[in-house]
């Protein structure tokens, strides 16, 4: 079986390499890809949309329709994990671990036992609990707001520097996941809850699709941001720039919410109870 697969793979690779002999050279400025379509983007990004970052202009304006579906892909990945793993009716877990804080004794309560009510002395811990470490906890708590600020900066500056909605959204999601990893899954869920992620992810993609629909109602084609010129009170070119910013914000929201939701579901096995 391995031999057949190896032969097939080598054959396939050989055929592909044979096919590559006609490719344009690497870095050739006269290749068809560099001369047919892209000069239009490079030369007309600023006159058409006044956005210096050409990649953002192409991503959110010229090919904005693709990006909307890309956001829908992220959204459907989040919903798919929700559908597959999430258990909405959590039966009582098999056993819970509690730690008596004054003495440091860990007790395990099996299913059906009485759970300790005095939460001052008893602290619920996970199966993979580690003792409180000042350095890790304080360091992460200090870093999280700066990471979130940087994420917002990346989203807002997608026009002028590499960045945009996807990158900023992932960084923001990473900040929340850092908090969840360093402290506790349950405290992270208290801050950014499951309902919040569901609403935010839908809201994000709705902002994108809704902007396009708004352009449709205002007379242009779908996702033609220059139709928003009257609504925003600017000329059509600046309207394109603002439209790009609006959809990037939508994308950032959706990506952040889905990243956090995916982490919650995958790390806690669908129960949103105990995590990594």
């Amino acid at each position: 079986m391995k031999a057949i697969a190896m032969v097939a793979v080598v054959l396939c690779g050989g055929l592909l390499i044979y096919g590559s002999l006609d490719f344009p050279d690497w870095g050739d400025p006269n290749s068809p890809a560099s001369t047919h379509l892209s000069p239009y983007f490079i030369e007309n990004a600023i006159p058409d949309t006044s956005v210096p970052n050409i990649v953002t202009a192409v991503l959110a304006d010229y090919r904005g329709y693709d990006t909307m579906f890309e956001t829908a892909v992220i959204f459907s990945a989040g919903i798919a994990c929700l559908l597959l793993l999430r258990m909405f009716t959590p039966n009582a877990p098999d056993s819970r671990l509690y730690r008596h804080t004054p003495t440091g004794v860990t007790i395990r309560i099996e299913q059906g036992g009485k759970l300790p009510e005095n939460t001052q002395e008893f602290q619920r811990i996970d199966l993979s609990w580690v003792p409180y470490d000042v350095i890790v906890n304080t360091g992460c708590r200090l870093m999280v707001p700066f990471i979130q600020l940087f994420a917002l900066y990346v989203i807002a500056h997608g026009h002028h520097s590499p960045g945009g909605g996807f990158q900023g959204g992932v960084i923001y999601g990473a900040a929340v996941i850092l908090f969840a990893v360093s402290k506790d899954l349950r405290s992270a869920i208290e801050q950014v809850g499951e309902k919040m992620t569901a609403y935010l992810s839908s809201a994000g993609v709705l902002i994108y699709a809704g902007t396009g629909l708004l352009c449709l109602f205002l007379g242009g084609e779908y996702l033609n941001y220059s139709a928003l010129a009257g609504l925003l009170g600017v000329d059509p070119i600046a309207a394109r720039s603002h439209g790009i910013l609006i959809v990037e914000v939508g994308v950032g929201l959706a990506v952040m919410a889905v990243m956090v939701s995916l982490y919650y579901i995958l790390s806690s096995d669908g129960k949103l109870d105990e995590g990594l």
């Binding site: 068809p32 329709y65 829908a72």
Partner: protein, 495 residues
């Protein structure tokens, strides 16, 4: 507003998917009506578009106002339009039919289920309507992702079957992406019409040949053509029955549409059938697919698994018919896309109804089912007659075109495979009918026990009857469909 139909067809279901998610947290009973409204809008838009195309020729729509090739452009012609109608109609019928079953079985996961359902249909509609090669990839991935999740919800080892589907499906989609990359490398454009304009000067290049082969391989993986069909039987049989009525009729047919689109529009027929010279090999693959699918179907012991092997054989019909490269066979292949979607919907809806009431579709459990579920079995009979190819159901007409095309091309192996497959289908279904009519004796030995009618919910019966009626209507109107739509769908160069 009517000039915006191409965008509305896709956007309304897309927004509905997100609204369903939000509605799920507010009140679960709103989910299904929102989804039904979205699919009805899509169906209405598709019908209006087909009428527009039939009256005035192809319709184009520029997204975001940018002309091709700078932006993404949607083009609807006769081939697109009719597949759009088929996709939205099948999705709507399945949604309505399974609504009460879903409300009973998946009550706590209604919102994600309907959200993924509508996203799946949005992806399929987008694949059919788009005129941009990369946009097709993104929509293909939406369809695939939602399909993987919906299939993974099924019973026994459905997650493993879905995981195998992920591996094969992702490799197939990646090959398609690689093929588009080769085309971009050699032409510099992503718009299908633009590529078709640039390609003729590049036909001797190895890159274009490699692009074609890689694209087709990727598509063959996704449409489950032999020998790349390994993922289909388990994935479709183990999927939840409410979902197989959606995925089984549509996914493979839309992939066959993509193959037709790439072979006829992006690469011209002269290149595909003339310069390349692989048509014969692919027709032989199709013949093997038909024969193997029919054989494997004979050895199955449960209804759904048997139906999945019939799906594999049907894919062979369409692929073989297309690559025979004469007009009659291609008409048969395109007509069969429409007919097969309807037939597969009908039989899978019937299987869903049977499984819902009996909790098992193994043949020995189907005894006496004609008495217990008469409406379901009536629809199954019509669907079976269509798959076998009995007039006046639609299956007869598309098979007739395929047979004539095979004879005209002189490919008698294809003709023989078609006839063999019809015979095997007859055996398969009459076996079920025989078991279904067999009524068990009552315990006291006083004669056959009277089974009470224990039918599926009302919405399922309505969908079943609608699907069966569609089969007969499609058959009666085959001639009109061919002359008014399919003749324009196939380019004039093909004789």
């Amino acid at each position: 507003m009517s000039q915006h139909f191409p965008a509305i067809i896709i956007v309304i279901p897309l927004i509905a998917a997100f609204l369903v998610t939000i509605a799920g947290w507010i009140n679960r009973r709103y989910c299904m009506p929102i989804a039904a409204f979205a699919l009805t809008t899509a169906l209405y838009g598709a019908v209006r578009l087909v009428l527009q195309v039939m009256a005035g020729g192809a319709v184009t729509y520029q997204m975001a106002g940018w002309p091709a090739p700078t932006g993404i452009v949607y083009t609807i012609d006769a081939l697109n339009g009719i597949v759009l109608v088929v996709v939205s109609a099948v999705a709507l019928l399945n949604l309505v039919g399974t609504s009460q079953i879903v409300a009973r079985n998946y009550a706590d996961r209604l919102a994600p289920f309907y959200s993924l359902y509508v996203l799946f249909v949005t992806g399929l509609l987008g694949i059919v309507i788009t005129g941009d090669a990369f946009n097709l990839f993104v929509l293909l991935e939406i369809t695939s992702l939602t399909g993987y999740a919906l299939i993974g919800m099924g019973r026994t080892h459905a997650p493993l079957a879905s995981l195998n589907y992920i591996f094969m499906g992702t490799i197939g989609a990646s090959f398609y992406l690689l093929g588009v990359g080769y085309l971009y490398l050699s032409t510099g454009s992503l718009n299908m019409a633009d590529i078709a304009a640039i390609l003729p000067s590049l036909y001797e290049s190895k890159v274009v040949l490699a692009a074609f082969v890689i694209c087709m391989t990727g598509l063959f993986m996704k449409m489950a053509l032999f020998p790349l069909h390994g993922w289909l039987p388990n994935a479709y049989a183990l999927a939840p029955s409410v979902v197989s009525g959606l995925i089984a009729p549509l996914t493979t047919k839309v992939m066959i549409y993509v193959m037709v689109r790439i072979a006829l529009t992006v690469f011209t027929p002269a290149y595909t059938f003339g310069t390349l010279g692989i048509s014969q090999a692919i027709v032989w693959l199709a013949v093997i697919a038909i024969v193997m699918g029919s054989f494997m179907a004979l050895s199955q012991k449960s209804l759904k698994k048997m139906l999945t092997y019939i799906v594999i054989a049907e894919v062979g019909y369409m692929v073989g018919g297309f690559w025979l490269a004469n007009r009659t066979a291609m008409t048969g292949a395109v007509l069969h896309i429409i007919n097969d979607a309807a037939m597969t919907l009908c039989v899978f809806l019937a299987a869903c109804s049977i499984r819902f009431k009996l909790a098992s579709d193994r043949f020995e459990n189907l005894r006496g089912i004609f008495r217990k579920q008469p409406v379901t079995m009536a629809a199954l009979v019509v669907g079976a007659l269509s798959i076998i190819g009995v007039p006046p159901t639609c299956g007869f007409f598309s098979k007739w075109y395929l047979l004539s095309g095979g004879i005209a091309a002189g490919h008698y192996a294809f003709v023989a495979a078609l006839l063999f497959s019809s015979l095997v289908n007859a055996v398969l279904f009459f076996r079920i009918f025989e078991i279904g009519h067999f009524e068990p004796f009552s315990r006291h030995g006083h004669g056959p026990a009277a089974e009470r009618i224990n039918e599926a919910p009302v919405t399922m019966l309505v969908s079943l009857l609608a699907a069966a009626a569609v089969l007969i209507l499609l058959g009666l109107y085959s001639g009109e469909i061919v002359t008014n739509i399919i003749d324009y769908a196939i380019p004039a160069q093909i004789s």
